[in-house]
């Protein structure tokens, strides 16, 4: 693994600006091939690493960029506009980093964050398990800890970009005799990490995430177990950060679709000045919905940042219901917006060979509702609403 020259990224706005530049210069030209071949977007990741951007969320004292979630979100919107697969990979990585930053307090995990910043490691995640499906709050596999070392084996139906990652954060039951819900999360890395691929990733969308199945076997120092129970990590960090960053990627997809629709309508207007193009009203309508989407992501980021250091507030039912609502809304809006833009551009969007083609946008956007199924999320909210009090 090459040591990258890490440029300090502490200036406000720098992270978002550099991610946007890489989106335009590196991710955009590769996007079609990444999608068609279902390959890892290696050039985009290399460009981000070269500028230290994979450590954007790591505090400055640990060698990272110390950037806010706002900035990373803005960068992901920009990347999502150009290549949603790249943006999703980067989003998933930052979600894992956010968990380590807040919940990896022991010496081993602090040192790991320093190392991650220095070498620009890419982190993957294995929460989903064969047998529990999308119910990430229960595990079948369990840690076995002997003499300060852990051992775990997990049947993971999906670990995105595992072959290109430097480590995987894995959920498991705390011990062989723990109930399904008593979970921990452990950092698994080579040489103690072995991944045996099961099947291929040939999916409708997000093809560049390479989300193949694996049998994962890992051993390592027991200090690689994050310091808080997974339930707390999930409520306070993993779930809200995932919903915020995924929504940012989906907003990127929607934003590009609206940009294309607007260009299309403007082209029509230029051909016949003086007459309002047929689709202009529909464009005005989709622009209203797009603005709702933008404002929703922004206000959810503000809600998260306002609650950020308050463990009780992050764990409150109202906050959880709100973060789930964000995911359901964003994953629904992205499909609605892309479909509307398809109607606006018509055949030019339906065809795969025009500058207005929206095929990839549509295929990528469909995945949003099932990345942790919206039905599951709604069932969780339905349960929480039984006890929610008004403010």
């Amino acid at each position: 693994m090459a040591v990258h020259q890490v440029i300090p990224v502490t200036r406000a706005g720098h992270v978002a600006a550099r991610m946007a530049a890489i989106a335009d210069e590196v991710a955009a030209p590769a996007a079609a091939d990444v999608d068609e071949s279902g390959r890892f977007p290696s050039e985009t990741l290399a460009a981000l690493k070269a500028e230290g951007l994979l450590a954007a969320l790591v505090p400055v004292e640990l060698g990272g960029g110390g950037a806010s979630l706002d900035e990373v979100s803005a960068g992901l919107v920009a990347l999502g506009r150009r290549c949603a697969s790249s943006a999703m990979v980067v989003a998933m990585h930052h979600i894992q980093v956010a968990c380590l930053v807040r919940h990896g307090r022991n010496d081993l995990l602090r040192d790991y964050l320093r190392e991650l910043s220095h070498h620009q490691y890419l982190l993957a995640s294995a929460t989903t398990e064969v047998g529990t499906g999308g119910d990430v709050r229960s595990s079948i596999c369990a840690l076995e800890v002997v003499d300060g070392r852990f051992r775990v084996q997990k049947q993971a139906p999906v670990i995105s970009y595992a072959d290109d990652a430097d480590a995987v954060l894995v959920t498991a039951r705390r011990a062989a005799d723990s109930p399904e819900s008593d979970q921990v999360i452990v950092l698994c890395r080579p040489p103690g990490l072995e991944l045996e691929q099961v099947g291929e990733w040939n999916a409708l969308g997000f093809r560049g995430t390479c989300s193949t199945g694996f049998v994962l076997r890992a051993t390592g120092d027991a200090e690689a177990v994050l310091d808080d129970p997974y339930g707390d990590i999930s409520t306070r960090t993993m779930l809200p950060v995932a919903h915020l960053l995924w929504s940012s990627v989906w907003l990127g997809i929607a934003t590009d679709a609206v940009d294309l629709a607007r260009k299309f309508v403007q082209g029509e207007a230029r051909r016949k000045p003086g007459t309002l193009p047929a689709a202009a009203l529909r464009l005005a309508e989709v622009t209203v919905v797009h603005q709702q989407f933008v404002d929703m992501v922004q206000s959810s980021l503000s809600r998260y940042e306002a609650a950020d250091s308050d463990a009780d507030r992050l764990a409150s039912i109202g906050f959880g219901v709100g973060m789930n609502a964000l995911k359901v809304s964003a994953s629904t809006l992205v499909v609605d917006i892309v479909r509307e833009c398809m109607l606006i551009c018509g055949l030019a969007a339906y065809r795969l060979d025009t500058p207005f083609s929206l095929g990839r946008h549509l295929r990528d956007s469909i995945g949003a509702a099932l990345m942790v199924n919206n039905d599951r999320i709604m069932a969780n909210n339905a349960q929480m609403l039984l006890v929610l009090r008004g403010e």
């Binding site: 109930p179 129970p229 339930g231 409520t235 764990a315 039912i317 349960q383 039984l386 006890v387 009090r389």
Partner: protein
């Protein structure tokens, strides 16, 4: 039934614990004993029914339900005893 007996009964009925509730000490971690966050919602609803009160917003957090002791403190605070 005493407050503690009622709490233990509610946990037995709704806590979906991996072990019998009698084997748990007052300060044992209920989430560690297998209570899921879903189950804790049902425990809370059943407690409100049994003691005829409503938990206030600020008590609706995981720590209120983490042990029998914590639940007792919450119940006594809300029922004003």
């Amino acid at each position: 039934m005493t407050v503690d007996e009622t709490i233990r009964q509610v946990l037995a009925d709704h806590g979906r614990l991996a072990v019998p509730v009698d084997t748990l000490a007052d300060d044992a971690d209920l989430f560690g004993a297998g209570m899921t966050s879903h189950a804790s919602v049902n425990v809370m609803l059943a407690l409100e029914d049994a003691f005829e009160f409503e938990f206030s917003e600020k008590m609706l957090k995981k720590s209120t339900f983490e042990s029998i002791e914590a639940i007792r403190t919450g119940v006594l605070e809300m029922t004003g005893e």
